[in-house]
């Protein structure tokens, strides 16, 4: 950057360009729909380009926050210690790019699906984008909260004003859920700031303060934040707003709502809730993981039963985001990396599917699958796009969805955090998978099966079988639609084979988050996990150390574990353990 006379505030520009666009667009007079769309597309495009520049400038070696310039760290409300600070790290980087990319696709597709109040629609979309981008970049908790609200208000309006028959009920449900969540979130933030004695709202201060709280207080703080964030995700059983909202909102807004806004919740968990209350996370992890796997299977089962396309996708999202939450709770670098990656994958695949479904709905003015059937012959390109996105969402290897789910499941199977009691290795071997972790993995793997069922049923009902003569022939993708949907599909395929470019940038940030959780946990591990078998920890941690991955090794390897050196009978399998410890490192 030294070649420039001044530092370019890339983050600020990325976040603000949709907002500038919204302002300008609201000033464009008249009823020139195409002009409105062009302005919206232009500023969304600028934001996309800027975010790609950011990704190019991102240093994949560094672990901490990056790219913050003077203009992105200024006093905001000094009276309460809130600063306007924007920064990027490996966790947020790709979520930002996902936001700008999916917004671009959605904005272009909206040309085909939104013919009403075009200007207002795009203003709402642009403000929402700015809110989401701000939420992904704010490192001041109060600023995050501001953006959180900025992103929600346009959503109410988009559902309430452009929605279908049940829009009022859907919007109300959305408002209620969100307001309840926001209240809890605000309460938790204020608790950490005041009782926890944080020096400011800056994330680092808040984390220090949160970690200094006692166990019960941490559980309260975590609970408050988790409710807000998990409603947004959504996690079973906090999800019932989502099928209504997803099916009532205009399709491009739904794509962002499910594709990106849900990830603001996931992001909040990783960024704020988990590091601020490590003891609570470690304690609650298996319980939340239960909800996650229930959601995975439940969502997939219920999706099978839906007659409306968007409701299928809504429940499928519930299922896929269950994987994400499971990945978070596994607390291993593989699973957490997978969770972040899965956020991107789900955004691309399901976001894309919502857009294509929106196109189908607009073409036949119906939402139910039964009104389609056999149209593959009429719309070969649309069919191909739809099937590829469906397979991506069903985690077929070679497509983007597999990478996230594979990393999550790998990390879950190797997790030490999911046992309700002391770690018990399978077959009492002393190393290898923990029994409870494996059960969680198995339950999630059932989701892999049932996840295929509803996807294939949907594909068949819409595209295969004899041609449904009731509706008019459906037009294939228009060039403007393919101009954004084909790149989307291409990205889904490319990331299935070459995901490492993303992963290398995610992992360091994820590992430093895990380190913060591990090092910040006070007494908890000492008390409850004391019985964890030493041999297991040694074998596993030796592997971790050799892989050079995780600083928790030092912390725990020399810590409590020694107190329980002879807790269990390590004689019988002694040789095997050594063999595993050594072999495992390669």
């Amino acid at each position: 950057m030294s070649s420039f006379p001044f530092q370019i505030p890339w983050i600020l520009m990325t976040v603000m360009s949709p907002l500038v666009g919204a302002l300008l667009l609201s000033m464009v007079p008249g009823e020139h729909k195409m002009a409105h769309r062009a302005v919206a597309g232009l500023f969304t495009g600028i934001s996309l380009v800027l975010s790609l520049v950011m990704a190019a400038l991102f240093n994949s070696e560094a672990t901490g926050y990056q790219l913050t310039t003077l203009a992105e760290d200024v006093a905001w409300i000094p009276e309460i210690g809130a600063r306007f600070t924007l920064a990027v790290d490996g966790i947020s980087l790709w979520l930002i790019v996902l936001t700008t990319f999916l917004s671009m696709v959605a904005t272009v597709v909206a040309t085909s699906t939104i013919q009403d109040k075009v200007k207002e629609f795009h203003v709402g979309m642009l403000v929402m984008q700015a809110g989401m981008l701000g939420a992904f970049t704010a490192t001041d908790v109060m600023l995050y909260f501001l953006f959180w609200e900025v992103m929600l208000i346009p959503m109410f309006l988009l559902i309430g004003l452009w929605g279908g028959v049940n829009r009022v009920q859907a919007a109300l449900k959305f408002v209620l859920y969100t307001m309840v969540g926001s209240a809890f979130l605000m309460a938790a933030i204020l608790y950490v700031r005041t009782v926890g004695g944080a020096a400011s709202f800056a994330l680092a201060d808040m984390i220090t303060a949160g970690q200094s709280l006692g166990f019960v207080e941490q559980v309260l703080v975590f609970g408050g934040m988790a409710i807000a964030f998990l409603i947004k995700v959504p996690l079973f059983p906090l999800h019932t707003w989502s099928p209504d909202a997803y099916s009532e909102a205009p399709a491009p807004a739904t794509a962002l709502l499910s594709g990106v806004m849900a990830k603001v919740g996931v992001y909040g968990l990783i960024r704020f809730a988990m590091p601020m209350s490590p003891d609570a996370v470690i304690f609650l992890a298996p319980y939340i993981a239960v909800l996650a796997v229930v959601g995975i299977v439940y969502g997939a089962l219920v999706a099978f039963n839906q007659t409306e396309m968007r409701r299928v996708l809504a429940y499928s999202s519930l299922s896929h985001l269950g994987f994400v939450v499971l990945g978070l709770m596994a607390l291993t670098p593989e699973a957490l990396t997978g969770a972040v990656f899965q956020c991107v994958a789900h955004g691309l695949a399901t976001g894309g599917l919502f857009l294509v479904v929106g196109l189908l709905e607009a073409r036949r003015d119906t939402r139910t699958m039964a009104d389609f059937g056999g149209i593959a012959r009429q719309v070969p390109l649309l069919t191909t796009v739809f099937i590829l996105l469906s397979f991506a969402s069903a985690a077929v290897p070679g497509l983007v969805g597999f990478v996230g789910e594979f990393l999550i499941l790998t990390g879950t199977a190797g997790s030490w955090a999911l046992n309700f009691g002391p770690i018990t290795t399978l077959g009492d071997v002393g190393f290898g998978p923990d029994t409870h972790a494996l059960l969680f993995t198995a339950a999630a793997a059932i989701g892999v099966i049932v996840g295929a069922v509803y996807v294939l049923v949907m594909v068949q009902r819409i595209f295969f079988g004899p041609v449904n003569e009731k509706g008019a022939p459906v037009a294939d993708l228009h060039w403007s639609e393919s101009s954004v949907l084909l790149p989307l599909v291409l990205v889904c395929v490319a990331l299935g084979f070459f995901p490492q470019g993303l992963i290398t940038r995610i992992t360091p940030a994820v590992e430093s988050t895990l380190q913060s959780i591990a090092l910040g946990s006070n007494e908890y591990r000492g008390d409850v996990n004391a019985g964890a078998e030493r041999a297991f920890e040694q074998a596993r941690f030796a592997r971790e150390r050799e892989a050079g991955s995780w600083a928790i090794v030092e912390e725990l390897g020399g810590g409590h574990a020694d107190d329980h050196a002879d807790d269990h009978d390590g004689e019988a399998h002694g040789d095997d353990e050594e063999a595993a410890g050594e072999e495992g490192g390669h």
């Binding site: 209620l176 439940y298 070679g398 071997v429 084979f497 590992e511 063999a579 595993a580 390669h586």
Partner: protein, 670 residues
């Protein structure tokens, strides 16, 4: 040894798929077929080159075997996070060589056949794009050097199979069959994934070389003597069983076999390539690949052998009564796959792979022959409307007869050698004797013997009913039965040749083998890959007497089957009907495939649909919405009132803060 050739093997079919897929069938048909076929030619030639290089690394290991150095291709880092470091790489050893040559060789022939078979179809371009995509995925499956790369191919072939079974998607039945195949396979895939994760947590790696080295460092005797039901042995058994469940899905074994007969909804060359010669044998390949694991998990191996034998017998009883020419062949495939699993479950990994290879030749031949018949009769598949076709399609009849002789195990055709090898290893497998008792060996052996007799019977029933006797073909169709075009005749002849001589690659010791050329000593060749696992089974050698007995029994059972079929079906005969009547329920049961589909649908399928419905109604709409959040207007209003009580001020504050915040942003911007 590093070589980029391995990447090329898979690259050519991928390119073919891309060209034909992206042009969306707008190219002229000869060009489409040419591109697809040339990609297979290129892939086949590169496979031969790779095999040649691999063989040239051979040195004598001093124990009577040649030691070869596997070839490797380092692709790129696929996924690396935490302690996972996975690259997308290929490896090439003797087992891969056999598989690759079969896939590209037989695949090439079937591409050629398809040009003639599909020439009138409007989806010609789409067809070849899918077919090439399948070959690409299948090559990833056998070339992958780690479980996840294998899994990519494993699911990839599933996707290609889905697309090809449902190729004529306008018929709901075809789309249903495609969907069923994919979902049933997914059940197995989930188990396979789970087995993979156990191995990863245990060994810290997913590469076959890593896992096998790790397992090799354990002393087999220790694991087994500690008891296969406790400790590490138990974990290994669990992993092996999970992997085997994955195999039952892909390779259509009990209880997950039901998708394969339905898969016949696809074009017949697809059935030949995917659902007979290559994809369905992936499970056998995987177990041979994981031979080190199965050798340390004797109970899992026993399960493999029992399930394989049971499937072989079960499917053969169904095949004996079917009237759809492709259904007979489909159940026959399930049955023959059972033979292969019986072999690998008995530690005879070589015999399993040997039978895989010979089966690829004769079953592809039989399927293509049935394709020629169906093509000639304009889509007729019911054998009751065929007969005497030898007169109008002599070449097809002759090659079909060769296939029947081979699968029935008539010496010296290929099926004779491989099937005899399996029977002998099942009988002499001392691992089973040690775990349960010698009677299990005899039971498995006898079941396979009965299966062999049934196989000979139903195959020759098929031959006689279709090609001999009186013609029952519709007169209108018979008037213009078209002969096979060259593109269809050529693959038939080549495959018939392979079905005749393929067995000489594995002539057993008993008959003076192996023949003195490296490429005619399959067992010795595979030694480097599966030898370690085979050694752990320590097959007891019961002496030549027992071996001759097994051989003689196999020949006798083939003869019984063939002669019975000849007596009943070579001309008009009342005997079959009378016998069927005597069998009563047994006959109708077999005819109706023992009602397995119906049972599954009435139990699992019904439970699934019911659960999905009940869950949705009960949990979402009632419990959460009504009791919890208020999905109804009443609920919303009620909750709104409640929440409003203590949230009134908050909402205002949010609004104020939001406006304030926006102001600040605007201020900062200006």
């Amino acid at each position: 040894m590093q070589t980029g050739l391995l990447g090329l093997i898979a690259l050519f079919p991928l390119l073919g798929a891309l060209v034909n897929g992206l042009t969306g069938g707008r190219l002229p048909k000869p060009l489409v077929g040419g591109i697809a076929t040339m990609s297979m030619v290129a892939s086949f030639l590169v496979s031969i080159a790779a095999t040649w290089i691999f063989v040239s690394t051979g040195t004598d290991d001093g124990h009577g075997h040649m030691a070869y150095t596997p070839l490797a291709w380092e692709g790129w880092t696929w996924m690396a996070a935490g302690s996972l470091n996975l690259s997308f790489s290929f490896a090439f050893d003797a087992l891969t060589a056999v598989m690759t040559l079969v896939i590209t060789g037989v695949g090439l022939l079937i591409h050629v056949f398809s040009i003639g078979y599909m020439h009138e179809d409007e989806g010609f371009g789409r067809y070849f794009a899918y077919l090439n995509l399948f070959v690409f995925a299948m090559l990833c499956l056998v070339l992958g050097d780690s479980l996840p790369v294998l899994f990519l191919g494993w699911e990839g072939v599933g996707v290609a199979s889905y697309l090809l079974i449902g190729f004529w998607y306008q018929e709901n039945a075809n789309a249903d069959a495609a969907k069923k195949a994919f979902i049933v396979n997914r059940i197995g895939d989930a188990a396979l994934l789970l087995g993979m994760f156990i191995l990863y947590s245990l060994t810290g790696g997913l590469e076959f070389a890593h896992i096998n080295a790790w397992l090799g460092s354990l002393s087999g005797a220790d694991v087994v003597s500690e008891g296969a039901t406790t400790g590490l042995g138990w974990v290994l058994t669990l992993a092996a069983v999970l992997i085997f469940i994955g195999c039952t899905g892909k390779s259509a074994q009990l209880p997950l076999f039901t998708w394969l007969p339905d898969a016949m909804a696809g074009p017949t060359p697809v059935s030949a390539l995917i659902h007979a010669a290559t994809m369905v044998t992936a499970g056998v390949y995987l177990i041979a690949r994981m031979s080190g694991l199965f050798a340390l998990a004797p109970y899992a191996s026993l399960l493999v052998a029992v399930v394989g034998t049971a499937t072989a017998l079960f499917a053969a009883t169904i095949a004996a009564t079917q009237n759809d020419i492709k259904k007979v062949l489909a159940y026959s495939t399930v049955s023959q796959l059972g033979f292969m699993f019986a072999a690998v479950g008995s530690g005879a990994f070589f015999a399993g792979v040997f039978h895989l290879m010979t089966h690829a030749f004769f079953k592809a031949l039989l399927f293509l022959g049935s394709g020629a018949v169906i093509h000639g009769l304009e889509g007729e598949q019911d054998i009751r409307k065929m007969g005497a076709l030898r007169k109008s399609m002599p070449l097809t009849a002759a090659t079909f007869l060769v296939g029947c002789l081979a699968i029935a195990g008539v010496p010296p055709l290929s099926g004779f050698f491989s099937k005899d090898e399996i029977l002998w290893f099942v009988l002499s497998n001392s691992s089973v004797t040690g775990l349960v008792g010698g009677w299990v060996n005899w039971l498995l052996w006898a079941s396979l013997l009965v299966t062999a007799a049934l196989t000979a019977f139903y195959m020759f029933r098929l031959y006689f009913v279709v090609f001999e006797g009186e013609s029952r073909v519709d007169a209108k169709v018979l008037a213009h039965v078209h002969k096979e075009p060259l593109s269809m005749a050529l693959p038939l002849v080549v495959l018939a040749g392979l079905a005749v001589v393929g067995g000489f690659a594995g002539v057993p010791h008993l008959l003076g083998g192996p023949l003195p050329m490296w490429w005619l000593d399959l067992h010795g060749w595979l030694h480097g890959t599966v030898g370690h696992g085979e050694a752990l089974f320590a097959n007891q050698f019961g002496g030549y007497g027992l071996a001759w007995l097994s051989l003689g029994a196999a020949l006798a059972s083939a003869a019984v089957g063939i002669l019975l079929a000849r007596a009943w079906y070579s001309g008009p005969s009342e005997a079959p009907a009378a016998f069927a009547a005597k069998l009563g329920k047994l006959y109708t049961g077999s005819l109706n495939k023992w009602y397995v589909d119906e049972i599954y649908d009435a139990t699992i399928g019904r439970a699934y649909r019911l659960k999905a419905l009940v869950l949705h109604r009960l949990v979402d709409e009632f419990a959460i919405d009504l009791a919890g959040v208020g999905g109804t207007a009443w609920g919303v209003r009620f909750l709104g009132t409640v929440v409003r009580q203590f949230q009134n001020g908050d909402v205002q504050r949010y609004a104020v803060m939001t406006v304030l915040g926006l102001g600040v942003i605007v201020y900062l911007l200006v």
